[in-house]
Amino acid sequence: MSHLYEHLPALQVLVPLMAAPLCFLLRKEALVGAFTVAVSFVCLGISASLLGQVLDGHVIVYEFGGWPRPFGIEYRIDLLNAFVLLTVSALAAVVFVAGPGQARRAIPPGREYLFYSAALLCLTGLLGVTITGDVFNVFVFMEISSLSSYILISLGRERRALMAAYSYLIMGTIGATFLLIGIGLMYQMTGTLNMVDMAERLQHVNHTRTVLVALAFVVVGISTKLAVFPLHQWLPNAYSFAPPIVSAFLASTATKVAYYLLIRFCLGLFGLVFVFETVGIDTLLMPLSVLAMFVGSIAAIYQTDFKRLLAYSSIAQIGYMTLGLSLATEAGVAAGIVHLFNHALMKGALFLVAACVTWRVGGTKIGAMKGLGQRMPWTMAALVASGLAIIGVPGTVGFVSKWALVSAALEKDALGLAFLIMASSVLAVVYVWRLVEVAYFATPEGEIEKKDAPLRLLIPTWILAGASIWFGLFSSFPMRVSELAAAQIFRVGL
């Protein structure tokens, strides 16, 4: 058993990777579903155990096949990626409970196992990107997760899902290839792919133009995956036409992992001084983040589709995260990391609400949600709870994020920036309240029976909605871990 314990880092990725083809053997939907949930909970257990091991600040280095660096690939787990691993696997575990949801209609009967296997592969990729300490490995895992996410998105009910998946594929591949170019240039200058070695050697060559170009390619490549404004065009279509379960999964994991990568490359590999002082990336990232906050929120206000509204809200929320990074302080990065976790909870809950609505109503047009407050009381209560979190009402996770972010801004004496953050969250009030009004105050057309979503959907929805309140009231765990993780990456490096 202790032997197995040592190999937890490898198992974190191998378990879902091996499980994906096993889905083909099981075939039966109920079996595969239960199996996937079981696997994702095993992943959750592993990542929780990993986080427990690194909480004291030490770093787990796992050498594959016993090959030390720079020859072998190593997995490297510090607080930052252990926390992201936990977030990703927890969200996956909760969302997978819901099953394919209405994507079932797009899948020929008896082929559900393909959905599960794509979902598991996607999880594998995301966990792999997060856990690995090898830059080329990052690219490979990123492509694994991206390819399977294109498949998942294309399962949407409308035919537009196909085009959404296709555009994402083009944008995503270009983004990943940019990252690949950047990695190539970095390799050219350092002769290693291992993150630790690379970070060390980059310090000596970072005056060269090659490293500068590498930084540009890497940042643009990751930003495409992260949907940083204005590279966000793929996101609204992808999230609004994908099956809501898939949107819930991707919105709460994929962009989060990309954000992690941005932190890892900017602060860990290239280094704070080079990225923020020599190159001054914050002069670009900060205005873009603020623009994202406003453009995303304002666009969300005008949407007529619930999922599309959530997608635009995600763009705004990503702005909060990148704003935290662009402050280039420990507090700012900690705020970004804690928002990564918090946003995963609340946006996951909201997309699951969309899944419940789709299940009963058949679509997510806001006009079709009239009077749902009476018809689906539990679902709509979850909408209110997680909506309040998006607004940032005290007692919810959104408030914790905002508190951390604004404190970080004020620490840099950026009162104007703090005001902008507040102003953009007022916009969130508008778009969340539109939903609540429609659900509770509009009279539905025609009589439709009062019937809530099935428990299989409601339970995960309420786990996430409840968590977004719970961690708002008892925020010490995510807040402490984020602060420690930011401190580690600032003081120890990588």
Partner: protein, 145 residues
């Protein structure tokens, strides 16, 4: 920079020139073409340029294939790592091409076309139809009330 130095530069770094030309033309095709299949072709050219970049940077002047031969000292080997990396990248590229093409096939089935502007027009027509029915319903509801 004088002409001679420029020529000199190009002559010694021609591989990068090729990479840049391929990269930019691939990117341009992927962005500007309306035909979904051509977009994928552009993407392939773009990816190919990266493969060329990696492979050419692993090449060492006078280097040979990195195969250890007993008793032959002082042999310069070409760096094998970029080649290996590119094997993976090629696999990834093939996979995304395959998936892209599969999506194109499904798109063709659903829309009857693979031209982006026609698909956009069809989508817009859908939207308008939907809005029209919605408006009609609202009017009917208003009349009923």
């Amino acid at each position: 920079m004088t002409i001679e130095r420029l020529v000199d530069h190009l002559a010694t770094h021609w591989n990068y020139l090729a990479v840049i030309v391929l990269m930019m033309s691939g990117l341009y095709i992927a962005i500007s073409r309306g035909n979904l299949v051509k977009k994928i072709m552009g993407m392939n050219v773009f990816q190919a340029s990266v493969i060329l970049m990696y492979v050419s940077m692993g090449k060492i002047h006078g280097g040979t294939a990195p195969i250890l031969v007993e008793g032959v000292p002082d042999v310069v080997y070409t760096n094998p790592v970029p080649h290996v990396l590119m094997l993976t990248a090629i696999v990834v590229g093939v996979a995304s091409t395959a998936l892209g093409l599969a999506l194109v096939v499904r798109t063709k089935e659903a829309y009857g076309t693979v031209e982006e502007d026609e698909i956009v027009a069809l989508d817009r027509a859908d939207d308008e139809r939907e809005m029209a029915t919605e408006r009609a319903e609202r009017r009917a509801a208003g009349a009923g009330a």
